[in-house]
């Protein structure tokens, strides 16, 4: 039982990080119909910005978090305005290639701006281990699970009750009709990119606190993309839950079935689920597959 709990709790924690990054994918897809292949790189850049604030200004957790997420907001808006908006109306393939190019640029910028060494994001919190019997978990891991739950609840309310959330759903459903109804699609796109960068930034900060910061961190995007496919590309809440499912499944597989299965467990799950529900667990039937 202890072994199972250790695997499940760790899986839940890493799954929560995947879930947050996956929500970032879904927010952009829902508003723009575009898969952003630079999501993992965005996550990494924001974590590095947090580390820069921590090492050069202050290690105060509130200042670092607000500073890094503020930077995420600006970065998301800048990418949308400078890189993505000129691509409006261009073929999807070209737009997706632009996000791939963006990913390469952001990835390479780590070495130009920072360095290749791993670093620890020390905010004075999140690293201590809480023990319940023989099972231990870091406080940062508990916090990321709690944050994911809060984000899921927040987004549910946002999409259901807020004016802007309904506008986003309208753009996602039919952007031309939404435009005719007075919804500013430009503003919706900008807000989606900003929100997506902030959500990814939260994931990046939690990951850097619990694990470490290194130039390979962008691979979180690769691990989280299956989560958003599993939950549904257009389902923000579903993508968050998809991350948790993938995290727990790969940890249980790695623990009980052994080496090699950890990497494929999530993908096996996706194949099985997509065979039954091709639009994902929580996705809408009429979405365009990428």
């Amino acid at each position: 039982m202890r072994f199972f709990l250790e695997l499940a709790l760790s899986g839940l924690a890493v799954g929560a990080v995947y879930g947050l990054v996956a929500m970032g994918f879904a927010v952009i897809y829902k508003a723009t119909g575009l898969v952003n292949f630079a999501q993992g790189e965005l996550t990494m850049i924001i974590a590095y910005i947090a580390w820069t604030i921590q090492t050069n200004l202050t290690g105060n957790v509130a200042v670092v978090t607000v500073g890094a997420l503020g930077a995420a907001l600006l970065l998301g808006l800048a990418i949308e305005r400078v890189v993505m908006r000129p691509m409006l109306g261009e073929p999807v393939f070209a737009t997706v290639m632009v996000t791939i190019a963006l990913a390469v640029i952001l990835r390479s910028s780590i070495n130009f701006i920072w360095d290749a060494y791993p670093h620890g994001l020390d905010l004075g919190v999140g690293r201590s281990v809480v023990r319940a019997g023989a099972v231990g978990i870091r406080t940062g891991q508990i916090a990321v699970v709690a944050t994911l739950l809060a984000m899921l609840a927040g987004f549910t309310l946002f999409f259901r009750y807020s004016r802007f959330g309904i506008a986003m759903r309208a753009v996602a459903a039919d952007d031309r009709t939404a435009l005719l109804m007075g919804v500013s699609t430009g503003r919706v796109h900008a807000a989606a990119w900003a929100a997506s960068a902030v959500i990814s930034g939260i994931a990046g900060i939690f990951f850097a606190v619990s694990y470490d910061l290194s130039p390979t961190m962008f691979q979180l995007g690769l691990k989280s993309f299956p989560a958003t496919i599993l939950g549904g590309l257009d389902a923000v809440i579903g993508s968050g839950l998809g991350g948790v499912i993938i995290g727990v499944a790969e940890n249980l597989a790695g623990g009980y079935l052994g080496s090699g299965t950890k990497e494929v467990a999530g993908f096996v799950l996706i194949i099985v689920i997509l065979m039954v529900r091709p639009f994902g667990l929580f996705g809408q039937r009429d979405i365009e597959r990428v």
Binding site: S10, A13, V14, D115, P118, G120, Y211, S214
Partner: protein, 385 residues
């Protein structure tokens, strides 16, 4: 007889190449000798590439401060291969054909040198491989390619033998990467496991680039392993050690030299205290290591000094071999002479590893290994008896 024939063949090859080199000794002027380095300077492998280049720079600055080599100053140009073999090949060609360097004191990782070998061998340019010496680089011996260091298999064997002797009858766990590096580690481990009949209770692999090791380490705990070989490189070993701390287990743990970078001890935290490692270059906690740091400090920039790690020593030692050979050739500098003089290198003291030597039929230093242990209080490794 076979050795004599091989030596004769090498001598003939070196002689043949000297005709090509005589036409014009590229990269050499009355006042300067141009050297070139192909190394990863971007991406995660820059951790080793940048540090290695700093070592080469220390050796060059040291020689230049002493008046240069027979009146000629040494200058280094670098090309970033990103640790991608296809780019290594391009960079090697560029250094030889476009930059026209005289010699290559630092070539990229093991797989990259092997990929560029046909170009290096055909050109005859004096080359040092001191990042990851593997058999394919020095066996069969080429006239112009010299490997400095020790083999991965020998390194792992030395570490596992040491830990096995210190912990008789204990249970073992091993986790390795699923690539050629992991295979080399596992091969070395398997040899000693059979030899000493080690009781292995966990044997696992992980995918390169993996960041979360919670399931692997939970399995380690469940297996009850008392001695553990962490076969990761940098981030992987950090993650494994931190996970062990979380799970409240502390088996006797050994790591291999690609991950023996002092800076990561801080990231591992107190759990890193007592980690065993094996290496052929001196730990910075030893008198020799401290002497090297003092030597390097005035010769490189502050940022370069901050980034010094074990690869800096490897780069320094390799560059010293080349520079000493160039010195012995004097003003009449040719590739043939430099290659021949490098082959004649014997007991060269670099201060960062055991004395270096090659031979007429040997292009590998096969350097002496030493076991060391991490000291978290000083964030350094110290040699153990």
């Amino acid at each position: 007889m076979r050795n004599t024939l091989a030596a004769a063949a090498l001598a003939c090859a070196a002689g043949t190449m000297s005709f090509g080199a005589l036409a014009a000794e590229q990269g050499v002027t009355d006042t300067e000798i141009l050297l070139g380095s192909v190394i990863p300077l971007t991406g995660p492998p820059a951790l080793l590439g940048v540090a290695h280049t700093t070592g080469v720079k220390v050796a060059i600055a040291e020689a230049n401060n002493a008046g240069g080599v027979k009146g000629r100053k040494l200058r280094l140009v670098m090309d970033d291969d990103g640790y991608v073999s296809a780019r290594t090949l391009q960079s090697t060609r560029k250094l030889i054909d476009v930059d026209k360097v005289f010699a290559i004191p630092g070539h990229s990782g093991s797989g990259q040198v092997v990929a560029a070998m046909p170009v290096l061998e055909k050109s005859g340019i004096p080359t040092i491989a001191s990042v990851g010496p593997v058999k394919a680089i020095y066996d069969p011996p080429r006239p112009n390619v010299f490997a400095v260091g020790s083999s991965y298999e020998d390194g792992i064997r030395a570490l596992v033998r040491y830990l096995g002797d210190r912990n008789p009858g204990k249970t073992w766990g091993i986790i390795t990467q699923d690539d050629d590096y992991g295979v080399a580690v596992r091969d070395g481990f398997d040899t000693v496991q059979k030899e000493k009949k080690l009781n292995v209770v966990l044997s696992a692999t992980y995918k390169r680039g993996q960041q979360d090791f919670s399931s692997e380490m939970a399995r380690l705990k469940e297996s009850g392993a008392e001695v553990f070989l962490a076969g990761g490189i940098i981030s992987e070993n950090i993650a494994m050690v931190k996970e062990m701390e979380k799970l409240s287990i502390k088996p006797v743990t050994g790591i291999f030299w690609p991950g023996r970078v002092e800076a990561i001890l801080k990231l591992m935290g107190p759990a890193s205290d007592g980690l065993y490692a094996v290496d052929y270059v001196e730990p910075f906690g030893s008198p020799a290591g401290q002497a090297f740091m003092e030597k390097a400090k005035p010769l490189v920039s502050e940022a370069e000094f901050k980034g010094i790690n074990r690869y800096t020593m490897a780069g320094y030692a390799g560059a010293r071999v080349l520079i000493e050979a160039i010195k012995r050739c004097g003003r009449e500098l040719t590739w043939a002479c430099t290659n021949a003089e490098m082959a004649r290198t014997k007991d060269l003291e670099t201060g960062v590893m055991a004395p270096i030597g090659f031979g007429p039929n040997s292009r590998f230093t096969d350097s002496r290994l030493q076991i060391m242990q991490a000291d978290f209080a000083t964030l350094s490794y110290k040699p153990v008896q």
